[in-house]
Assembly symmetry: C2
Amino acid sequence: MAIARPVDRRLFFMLDRAHTQLAKAADAHLSASSHVGTSQAAVLIYLGYHDNCRLSELSEGVGRNNSAITGLVSRMEEAGLVSRGHSHDDRRTKTVSLTSKGWTVRETVMNDFRAFNEKLVKGLNDREVDAVMKFLSLSVSNVAS
Amino acid sequence: MAIARPVDRRLFFMLDRAHTQLAKAADAHLSASSHVGTSQAAVLIYLGYHDNCRLSELSEGVGRNNSAITGLVSRMEEAGLVSRGHSHDDRRTKTVSLTSKGWTVRETVMNDFRAFNEKLVKGLNDREVDAVMKFLSLSVSNVAS
DNA sequence: CCTAACTATTACGCATACGAACGAATCTGT
DNA sequence: ACAGATTCGTTCGTATGCGTAATAGTTAGG
């Protein structure tokens, strides 16, 4: 259960720090080949698996709220990476889909991240990587209450 | 080595997502008792261990760059949590120290995070927690190059 | 002494995120 | 069929952080 080990109280800050540094490194990694940051990259990747989805679904998929998505999608629309559409079923909803340019950039981004993620787990064995992924999934639901 | 396992390419996004959700939860957790966010909380905790340190050291300690620290410290100074001082050795440098109010808030924040961090590792055994901490430390240096 | 390096600040523009509130559309219960 | 609740996307204001560049004071090296 790992209760109250002194080191535990630093866990969140270690995560925060790692995220800051890794996001910075990932941004640098990405902008070398494409002009997208990590937020936009997440959208590109998600849309590859769920093209033409609702904005709310995208919001859920990349873990940002509605208003963040509105701005994010708008910037990406201006950049020609995605386009908005309308749903036939429900006139409230709008959909997002990748443009052909979006698909191309996504391909680059995917390759970049494959290399990047391999760097992240350098020095860890499979068992440890599994523990990390388990933590990243579990912790979100642990605090969701 | 965990090379090219299909799941690896999602690692960074899982981290990104976890960080976003956890930061949001932590903010809610904190602002219930004190009026500080996670950035300011990090500063409070760091200063508890390195009171009266230089701004650059703080910058390194909490993983933000110099100009971000200037703004962060200014906001905290206005809130009465920290105060700026001058170094005797080097008159270029300025120092930051906790005010008595800062120490009080830090105490609250520390307790909040103890509880919060315990929630994060719920469902993980010690071995897995160790792997997570190892990952969070290692990954930063792995991409630092 | 002069110059180079360091330290912190400041200002600008930009990206990202949040919560709150809004209008429009849709669904639900009666 | 209609009133009320809910959902969806948007807009607004605010907070935070980054990069870059300019500024200014201080220190250290030659």
